[in-house]
Amino acid sequence: MNFPIWEVPIIGGGMLIGLVAIPHTFIAHLAIGGGLFLPLTELMAYRRQDHALLHFLRTATRTFVLVVLVGGAVTGVGIWWTIALVHPSATSSLLHIFLFVWATEWVAFLVEIVSALVYYYGWDRLRPDIHLRVGFIYFISAWLSLFLINGILTFMLTTGRWVETRSVWHAFFNPSMMPSLFLRTMITLALAGIFVLIKAGGVTDSGLRHRIIRWAGLWLMIPAVLMPPGLLIYLSTLPPSARHLALGGPAPVLLVLVATSIVLSALIFGFSYWGAYKRPHLFSPPLAFLVATLAFLTTGMTEWVREAIRKPYVIYGYMFSNGLTIDQARRWQGQSLVSKAKFTLAPTKPTNDDLGTEIFRLQCSSCHTLSGYNGLLPLIYGWDQEMIRAALNRLHRLRGFMPPFVGSEDEKEALVHWLWKQSATFPGPPLHNP
């Protein structure tokens, strides 16, 4: 309740974060896998004196560096921007815990950017052995960047022993850190393969094209084999309530997303084995784009699920999605929330409606809109005030992914009345009285 509230209309703050984060995740993973693919294949090409392959790599580097430098860097900064606007308290907490991890990640980022530029402009300019070394430096720094950010990201879901010890070591090496790092590393390889499949479409020499497609297909095979066990290990490290949510529990739509992403992954790997690897001559650019689209959807869905199963927390076991810490929620039980908030819109003598709007902004709006994405009105459509009140009284027990209501009885009543009034304006299906 420290900061002003930014209500993102229609799509809500969570969706906005997703819209920035999902493209970034996709590009950032590609940036790492591609960073391994390029120098490794370059090394192979030097050994075999394959000039055609070297030429292909040179053109691929251009697209790669453009996507990574322009798209990757800016969307990465974009996630930081967006989470700080939607969840300032959580962002501030993460910065306080992980400042020097982040600062170290910045060093990796700096090395990554400089070596990417020199690798790109250094084709034909640097001696081959130096060029290769720069390529591998790029990959190592990019992977280190993943290593560091992954620790922070996984911490938000599996805070582990940090909750008791407050040790940065426990925070960083949290329970899901290693399995997630493994899974993400596999994803980087798969995305590199997909990127090369697309780039291979532009190669006119059919012999070279088939060789590249087969080689790219292989980059998809390794993750195909290793990811399923990795996923099981990852799931086993999640808090039971989060695992319960991921596997259907009280929000069946999440299970649908999990299942769909598994099916899509299977399709991707199917295409790459029977298509790219076994029959490279049949593998066409549209098919490559299809695989890329499937991969993008899978990335989107899995990241979405990861965010969703963290509910009701933004930092598991420490801070709820609306920025209240568990401790605050406990201490302020039954007390006026508006009086604790630094920034309110309500006048000194608020009406019931003013109060209701305020409580909605303070406590609900970081996840819910009124009638847009994750809208409250469709959820309470047809409810009377008694039902809304009953739900607010047991919010945290209702389905496991809601934080408790915090505020005075007056504020609760104001919210009940305000929501009920708003829901009357919501155009839902006809209601039947028995």
Binding site: N2, F3, P4, I5, W6, E7, P9, V20, L66, L69, V70, G71, A73, V74, T75, V77, G78, W81, T82, L85, P88, S89, S92, S93, L95, H96, I97, L99, F100, V101, W102, A103, T104, W106, V107, A108, F109, L110, V111, I113, V114, S115, L117, V118, Y121, G122, R125, L126, R127, I130, V134, I137, R166, V168, T325, D327, K342, F343, L345, R361
Partner: protein, 365 residues
């Protein structure tokens, strides 16, 4: 009740003084590529509009991909330290102008993409000045948004009014009297830095052709002198746009503030003088000395910036000492960062060294 948010219950991972130093150093690092990018784009727009494919424009095009990437990269670190040290002010200010602040991302993305489009397709463009102009305008707007956040975060007494006037997040800090002179001062500063860097670069590295050297040195010096002199007009306006109590601290009532201002003004004047005298002596060392003096100005101005912020915050919220927040230093992770930084910088230098060696081999002197 003060409107400034409570400190985070999680203590700072380093003493505020150390964080201030890191903020200061990384901000200075950010200034160099940022100035070269903005001013370089400005130069390109002018040069393309005149359809003159001069050697400076060629040089600017060769460094822009790197300088733009580095502007973003080196901008991350100071922002990180600002958010930890002044998080309570910074996050509040950004949420108050959320949409505008969020728009930094698409503007940066478009400006950057247009820049690459221009660099790759320049030959085919009918109006080649347009693309760099678009990038320049977008980047300048991003800088303007930063100026808005920086001034708004130092004005806590305005926050509640701003929030209530528009809670949807479309606010800017336009009524701040320092906003325009501040932005102009920084932009002119960037153009001046670009001018001197161009002159020094010309005198030091471009040695193959006397005409080329002359154009780098004469145009660069002209830009440096012109924009530095303009800043001697804007600077005082910027200073007097602040509340009187703060302005006079730089004019005698505060020893550090006054000393820093005198040093930076004298150093800038000295750099202008040396640049003039270079026209007669033609000694490379004179230009290098001008560069050193300009660096002194930048270092002193960076510290002035810090003082202005502290004093402005104090002026708006006298009872709150923002930097005195509980700290529980985390020396192990700090050491890891320092070691990583050392390894990282050595690696960068190694990579860049090979790059310049390859360039030197390619261009016969």
């Amino acid at each position: 009740m003060t409107v400034i948010p409570e400190p985070s219950p999680i203590p700072l991972p380093a003493p505020p003084g150390l964080l201030s130093i890191l903020l200061y150093l990384t901000f200075l690092l950010h200034l160099i590529p940022m100035n070269l990018t903005v001013a370089g784009l400005f130069y390109l727009v002018l040069s393309e509009a005149r359809r003159s494919d001069d050697p400076i424009a060629h040089w600017v095009r060769s460094y822009l991909p790197a300088s733009t990437a580095l502007t973003i990269t080196t901008g991350v670190a100071p922002l990180l330290f600002v958010q930890v040290l002044y998080g309570r002010l910074f996050f509040t200010a950004t949420v108050l102008m959320a949409w505008s602040w969020f728009s930094v991302i698409p503007f940066l993305l478009i400006g950057y993409a247009v820049l690459y489009y221009y660099l790759n397709r320049r030959q085919d463009l009918r109006s080649p000045w347009l693309a760099p102009a678009i990038s320049l305008v977008l980047f300048l707007y991003v800088a303007f948004l930063f100026a808005n956040v920086t001034t708004l975060m130092s004005s806590p007494s305005k926050w509640l009014t701003v929030y209530r006037s528009d809670p949807s997040g479309w606010n800017l800090n336009l009524d701040d009297p320092t906003l325009i002179p501040r932005s102009l001062h920084l932009i002119f500063g960037a153009l001046a830095v670009f001018g001197l860097v161009t002159a020094v670069y010309g005198a030091t590295f471009v040695s193959s052709d006397a005409d080329r050297v002359r154009s780098f040195v004469s145009i660069g010096s002209r830009w440096f002198v012109t924009f530095t002199l303009l800043n001697f007009v804007i600077g005082p306006l910027f200073l007097f746009a602040h509340p009187r109590e703060i302005g006079i601290r730089f004019l005698g009532t505060d020893a550090e503030g006054t000393g820093l201002l005198i040093v930076s003004v004298l150093a800038a004047l000295g750099a202008v003088f040396l640049t003039f005298s270079f026209q007669r002596s033609r000694s490379k060392k004179v230009l290098m000395a001008a560069g050193a003096l300009l660096t002194v100005t930048l270092i002193a101005m960076g510290r002035i910036r810090f003082l202005v912020r502290q004093w402005m915050i104090g002026w708006h919220a006298p009872n709150v000492t923002v930097t005195e927040i509980p700290a529980q230093p985390d020396w192990i992770f700090f050491s890891i960062f320092v070691i990583a930084l050392a390894i990282g910088l050595v690696t960068v230098l190694w990579v860049v060294h090979y790059w310049f060696r390859s360039v030197a081999e390619e261009v016969p002197r």
